[in-house]
């Protein structure tokens, strides 16, 4: 037993349902008690989804406990088959069904005899895997199922497309900025002259899966989801895959170079160097940003990074290598894949933190007192409490992390978004800090009625000169605070001494 208030990665069935709901016309049926269909609420709220989430529950209640699910699961599967006519029904076990140990596989076999839809049982164990691992597995399972099926039916198309093409694997519902990343990646592929064969699983139809081997290679943008499927396709069809996340200027270039060599090995004869050069100079502003004075001011500032493997590792690389920021520690909650993370960030941060306990992360933030945090919603709240700005870079996320505006994290437009995210986090912190130094937040007391400059106070030359040294955005406030102080003290002439006495008085 473990005392826990918060978790970074959800239970296994969430991962399976994310995959099922990403495909077109695939229906998830959870073997679960009443109330476990909370996934539908999340999907409907966070993604502001217009369609009904294709997930229903085969309810486990008292009767099921006493007599077993018996016909119930089979009935629910066949019923859903006739109501919705899905291509595939994924029976999804939950923590409850894990311990009931019913033979769900048997239900699946029986049900599939009378359904038009294919039926599979998601091969995930609640107590062994989390949301991300389950998603990776389920995707792999579905891919394998349809490849095998196509092979049996002789409909598998293994002939490569005439021009270079790619499968982009691992884009899912409820994935962090996935829909924007998807658009950006398609855009990037178009720029590279690569035809997108299939995007998986988001928006794909299971009928398309037989076309997977046509692509020249697979691109797996995220570490957590898609790796198993790519591995399977590599083993079966010798399809190479590129698993470098194109996040940040350097990594995007590295990803493109990897694609180049994969294609050239298959005789494409492409050279992407001019494109990388052009994009880095003209499309992405990140390279220029790193030279600009704005970024220079960030040199050596302390930051901490926490998130999933993909985003935390990429963020650490960007902060350290592209912006000269001092990453004190970088961490991940993907404990099951911690070695990968360590390898990726070694040499780029002082310390690596592997944990899924938010209190450990919180304490580590408090100990370091960074100038900015890049983490999940949980770290954002820690930041609020400690008055440290936070940029959200990974799930768990809230509705505000599902913007409708175009906000990719990947590709060249992604580098622009990241510049804003990082720079805004740091300047916000700086602004806050200056406000603190020069007299705190909005003064509630009214000094004057009216906004005219008419005043009985005079500023001496040195006082005024000092006032003008204060950054513009807080100058007005400092002026008001000083004048208020002067009035309270009965001072009519404001000198530099009065200015600082006022500042001290406010600070005290």
């Amino acid at each position: 037993m473990k005392l826990a208030y918060w978790m970074y990665a959800g239970p296994a069935h969430i991962g399976t349902l994310r995959i099922a709901s990403s495909f077109q016309n695939v229906h998830g049926i959870m073997h679960a008690p009443l109330g476990d269909d909370y996934f539908n609420v999340m999907r409907s709220m966070l993604e502001r989804e217009r369609d009904f989430t294709p997930v229903t529950a085969s309810i486990v209640d008292r009767h099921v406990l006493a007599r077993g699910s018996q016909e119930k699961v089979v009935d629910n599967i066949t019923r859903k088959d006739s109501e919705e006519h899905p291509d595939l029904i994924v029976l999804t076990p939950t923590c409850t069904s894990s311990i009931l140990q019913e033979d769900l596989q048997n239900f699946v076999q029986r049900a599939s005899l009378s359904t038009t839809a294919d039926v599979i049982l998601a091969d995930v164990n609640h107590y062994r895997v989390n949301e991300l691992q389950a998603a990776d597995r389920t995707l792999d399972q579905i891919v394998q199922f349809y490849i095998e099926k196509a092979r049996r039916q002789g409909t598998l198309s293994t002939t490569k497309t005439p021009t270079p093409s790619v499968n982009i694997i691992g884009l899912t519902t409820l994935g962090f900025h996935n829909q924007h990343d998807c658009r950006e990646l398609k855009h990037l592929m178009a720029d590279l002259g690569i035809q997108v064969n299939l995007v998986l699983p988001a928006g794909a139809s299971v009928h398309d899966l037989a076309r997977l081997p046509q692509a020249w290679f697979n691109l797996v943008p995220y570490r957590e989801i898609g790796g198993l499927s790519a591995q399977y396709l590599a083993n079966e069809f010798g399809m190479p895959s590129v698993t470098i996340t194109p996040m940040g200027v350097i990594e995007t270039a590295r990803c493109i170079r990897a694609i180049q060599s994969v294609l050239n090995e298959q005789g494409a004869d492409v050279n992407y160097e001019p494109l990388i050069e052009h994009q880095t100079r003209d499309v992405s502003q990140a390279a220029w940003f790193s030279r600009s004075i704005d970024c220079q001011n960030l040199t050596g500032k302390k930051a901490v990074v926490f998130g999933d493997n993909t985003h935390a590792a990429a963020m650490t690389k960007i902060l350290t290598r592209e912006m000269g920021i001092h990453v004190v520690w970088a961490g991940t909650y993907c404990k099951y894949d911690a070695d990968w993370f360590r390898t990726e960030v070694t040499g780029l941060c002082d310390e690596v933190l592997i944990t899924d306990d938010h209190t450990v992360v919180g304490d580590a933030i408090a100990r370091v007192e960074p100038a900015a945090i890049f983490g999940t919603q949980m770290e954002r709240h820690v930041g609020k409490r400690l008055n440290i700005p936070c940029g959200v870079i990974a799930a768990p996320i809230h509705i505000q992390d599902f913007p409708v505006g175009y906000r990719p994290f990947l590709g060249y437009e992604g580098t622009n978004q990241l510049v804003d995210l990082i720079y805004n986090s740091f300047t916000l912190g700086m602004e806050d800090h200056l406000l603190e130094i020069f007299g705190g937040h909005d003064t509630k007391e009214v000094i004057h009625k009216g906004l005219s400059a008419a005043t009985d106070l005079t500023w001496t030359t040195d006082g005024l000169a000092e006032l003008n040294k204060i950054p513009g955005f807080v100058r007005g406030k400092v002026k008001r605070n000083t004048e208020k102080f002067a009035r309270e003290q009965g001072i009519t002439e404001i000198t530099v001494e009065v200015l600082y006495a006022a500042k001290e008085a406010v600070g005290a």
Partner: protein, 458 residues
């Protein structure tokens, strides 16, 4: 009580394939209500994930609740339940020092038959903090019924007069009302009340609503001697044989049963004080029980309705469909029919015809008075079937969960998220406007955005 009148309401029962919150969600409002409590939900990641996401920002406010997350070793009994719970409860005692720890049993503890009721008294004696066990799980209950299981367990903990030497001193409301008053004044005030047997109300409500309802009864000379639950566990009301009890919410069947059977109380079966009609009927039922002639209630109700005129204008003649997920549906439907709305269907997770008898009666009477056909009550609804009916009926308003709200809106249907009714203040005369504020919000939105031509966006 006139509970025997046969009502011709048609009650159907479907498959129970509907969306609702898991009953463990009750910890979210109960830990805020009972200020010195700590709620420990003994379950899995699934439970934790639900709480974390459903409770949104509340999770970040250092909540006095936590998961005791079961691991594989707990399921296969490689770990000792008692030792594990002891370790966690001692940690809670050390960090938070609560006056009570409430264990919420979940589906998993049910299935592996963890004997929480048996472990609690032993551990309670060992660590010196009361441990209350409530089995609020998704196998047996829906959403608000979670509170019912907790309050039923709490009812057993309410002290008896013999256990409390000085009742007056202990009673928080009394103490609050008497604060700073001289003894003579207190006696003078006591005379404002009729001489009636002690009345204890049950149901967790926000403190302002508690005050409003208490004062509403004071106007009739009825003294509320306690509320279950109180602001603090240490202030649970005295309950003794022969006391009168009344529920303020429709989902408190088990609590009512416990108070009647275990604590030998008399249950006043009344409609619930939701809407001005419900509030009046509730107060009247209490008065009738104590043989008191209600004073000025008709005027009070009329005044309340008057103040709702603008909202009534909006809802009149509009139709509404309750998909059913929180058990407030009967009372809300009854109120909305009185407001002039047409109710197509009242979906409800669970229908206790005895506990809700007076409310059901008032519903039938309201239908008769408003010339409204008796609506069908659908217990354990089937959301899929309901969506087909909604498609056919095209109601003006669907009161539903968040899973269906956006998809329905995209199909041109107006919806109101049902969960808001459980968190908003909806009880008493003073809060009737809040209910209509919620009900009319989609209608007002429709007015504000009329003529844009993009209602259907699928």
């Amino acid at each position: 009580m006139t509970t025997t009148a046969p009502n011709a309401l048609n009650v159907e029962c479907e498959t129970g394939n509907y969306h609702t919150f898991c009953p463990i969600s009750c910890v979210a409002w109960l830990y805020q209500k009972i200020e010195d409590s700590f709620f420990l939900v003994i379950g899995t990641k699934t439970c934790g994930y639900f709480l974390q996401n459903a409770m949104g920002v509340m999770i970040f406010a250092e909540p006095r609740y936590a998961m005791a997350e079961l691991e594989e070793g707990d399921i296969s009994a490689q770990l000792n339940d008692y030792e594990e719970l002891k370790r966690l409860c001692l940690q809670i005692k050390r960090d938070r020092n609560p006056s009570v720890i409430v264990w919420i049993g979940t589906c998993t503890t049910e299935i592996i038959k963890m004997d929480l009721e048996g472990l609690a008294p032993k551990l309670e004696a060992e660590i010196g903090i009361p441990i209350v066990v409530a089995r609020a799980n998704g196998l047996d209950y829906a959403f608000t019924q979670g509170e019912d299981t907790v309050l039923a367990a709490m009812a057993a903990r309410c002290p008896t007069p013999t256990a409390v030497t000085n009742t007056e001193e202990r009673n928080p409301i009394q103490r609050l009302l008497n604060f700073g008053k001289k003894k003579e004044e207190v006696q003078a005030e006591a005379s404002q009340y009729h001489d009636h047997p002690p009345l204890v109300l049950f149901g967790s409500l926000p403190d302002p609503v508690v005050t409003q309802l208490t004062l509403e009864l004071k106007k009739q000379g009825i003294q509320v001697s306690g509320w279950l639950p109180s602001k603090r566990y240490t202030e649970l009301p005295v309950v003794d044989e022969g006391y009168y009890v009344a529920g303020v919410n429709p989902f408190l069947s088990r609590t009512a049963t416990t108070l009647m059977r275990r604590r030998k109380c008399n249950l006043i079966n009344a409609p619930f004080p939701i809407g001005p009609d419900g509030t009046r009927a509730w107060v009247e039922a209490l008065c009738t029980t104590f043989g008191i002639e209600p004073q000025g209630l008709a005027e009070r109700e009329a005044q309340t309705w008057e103040k709702l005129a603008d909202y009534l204008e909006l809802v009149r003649g509009k139709s509404v469909f309750f998909m059913g997920d929180n058990l407030l549906e009967i009372s809300l439907a009854r109120f909305l029919i009185r407001c002039g709305m047409r109710v197509h269907e009242i979906g409800i997770p669970y229908m206790d015809k005895r506990y809700q008898a007076a409310e059901l009666n008032l519903l039938s009477q309201t239908c008769a008075a408003m010339d409204h056909p008796l609506p069908t009550i659908v217990e354990k609804p089937d959301n899929y079937n309901q969506l087909q009916r909604i498609k056919a009926l095209q109601p003006d308003l669907v009161i539903t969960g968040m899973a269906h709200a956006n998809p329905l809106e995209a199909r041109g249907m107006s919806t109101k998220w049902s969960v808001e009714f459980t968190f908003a203040q909806i009880h008493g005369f003073g809060n009737a406007r809040d209910i209509l504020e919620l009900v009319t919000r989609p209608l007002r939105r429709n007015q504000a955005l009329a003529g844009l031509g993009w209602q259907q966006l699928v």
